[in-house]
Amino acid sequence: MLEVRDIHSYYGKSHVLEGVSLTVGAGELVTLLGRNGAGKTTTLRSIVGVVRPREGGVFFEGQPLAGKEIYEIARAGIALVPEHRGIFGVLTVEENLRIAVREGWWTLSDIYDLFPRLYERRRNGGNALSGGEQQMLSMARALLSNPKLLLLDEPTEGLAPVIVDEIVKTLIDIRRTGMSVLLVEQNLAVCEKLADRHYVLEQGRIVYSGSAADFAADRSIRDRYLALGA
């Protein structure tokens, strides 16, 4: 479904990604792990076209994404839930959702079933939401665009454990629909509950990739690259 082939991305002169390759298959949930500053967010931003890789390429369903506009990549079926959630404060919750709607599996009423809290707050301004509500809204909005591939950038960051559990439950529901997911996350417990495969990114390079089972079996990987103590 998604193939990232040896991409090199820069911010100005700083070489952030030094040849990242990864794949996400249909219906797979793959995580991208790594310390802060390893290049996880840049990898996601390079996939959706916000950052343009200078070398290498991103392919989605066999088609190269190079040269496509951000909105064209989104319409091809890739949705990003960004680290800062990207909620529009001047719009109401429902307006935030409505501007994202594209025909498909998920409808507004499905979304309200999945996130009853958003239904309660549908007339509130986006700027009046708590962090957890913003995260739900951002995920809900991405789902309403009915993507084939969902990219999530640290969806549980900074949230209370109760909310984290809710997000995990939602992700399990989303997986059941057969959507492919690439998850960037620092919370290892969350990743291990969900993932089929893991990648570990360090200083702009993939330093580990393996199945969930292999990753769980080899405790040394997390000590070497992640040191998160999860």
Partner: protein, 286 residues
């Protein structure tokens, strides 16, 4: 005496609604595109000339009222496609350079076509004369101007607040990147918003035609006032443009009978007071 004030207040409302129509375009273009359009006054002038030309050609004010703004909007749409969009990524100084150039081209083109001396535009026949309310009489056309602009203002509010297009315009003023990430064609949104905003300036030009006529140097004066309105109301705010426009219209109109020499001074005084008390304008966001 009271009637005089009522007269001036109504005049101020009419003038204020014209300023609103000009400024709201300027402010939504700035809000979404982060683009400063110094050609805005030039397009207002073009609206006034189109009003003159269409009246000459057809004799129908209603034709001018519909076709004039559409023609101005269409020209803006083309200008955005071929010229303006190439400058979005450049600093504001380049926006000024390019749009002042466009304003000069418009001004000179009007001089070539219609000559350097202004044209006066007759009030349409059905709107000539006065409306009499008890002891008070007020020109029909000016009353029409107030009511018509109010209807347009309401329609614009519905468009911005109640439609998907409007939601995208408001969302884009927070983050164009996020709007693109949701799959909206941001370039199309930019073109349409630019055409809409400039078309409104054209409409203001058509509407003010029968009162102020059309002359080639009206652009810069109107542009200056529009910036005052936007600064008072707050960049990017619809409500700000409305309130700011009405404040300036009323101040200008009331001062013209109280202290004519100080009318312009008071406008800039009002702006200075707002900047001192609320640096982002009455309805602006930091």
């Amino acid at each position: 005496m009271l009637n005089l004030y009522l007269f001036q207040i109504l005049n101020g409302l009419g003038l204020g609604m014209i300023y609103f129509l000009i400024s709201v375009g300027l402010t939504i273009i700035f809000g979404l595109l982060n683009f400063v359009n110094f050609a805005h006054g030039g397009f207002f002038m073009l609206g006034a000339y189109f009003c003159y030309a269409l009246l000459q050609a057809t004799g129908q004010f209603w034709v001018a009222l519909v076709a004039g703004p559409l023609a101005v909007g269409a020209m803006a749409w083309v200008a955005e496609k071929v010229l303006i969009r190439r400058a979005y990524h450049l600093p504001h100084t380049f926006h000024i350079l390019i749009t002042v150039g466009v304003a000069l081209i418009l001004q000179e083109a009007c001089i070539i076509v219609w000559g350097p001396i202004g044209k006066s535009i007759p009030i349409p026949e059905t709107l000539q004369g006065v409306v009499i309310m008890g002891k008070f009489a007020y020109p029909k056309y000016r009353l029409f101007l107030i009511l018509f602009s109010a209807v347009i203002g309401f329609a614009l509010w519905v468009l911005l607040e109640r439609t998907r297009f409007g939601a995208l315009v408001r969302a884009g003023s927070e983050s164009t990147e996020m709007v693109s990430l949701l799959g909206a064609d941001i370039y199309k949104l930019f073109s349409l918003t630019f055409a809409l905003g400039v078309g409104l300036a054209g409409l203001a030009g058509v509407l003010s035609g029968p009162i102020r006529g059309a002359h080639p140097f009206m652009g810069p004066e109107v542009l200056g006032l529009a910036f005052v309105v936007v600064v008072i109301g707050g960049m990017g705010s619809f409500t700000g443009a409305l309130v700011g426009g009405l404040i300036i219209g009323l101040v200008q109109s009331l001062m013209s009978s109280l202290w004519p020499e100080g009318a312009s001074l008071m406008i800039y005084g009002a702006m200075a007071a707002v900047i001192l008390l609320r640096p982002y304008g009455l309805f602006g966001r930091a």
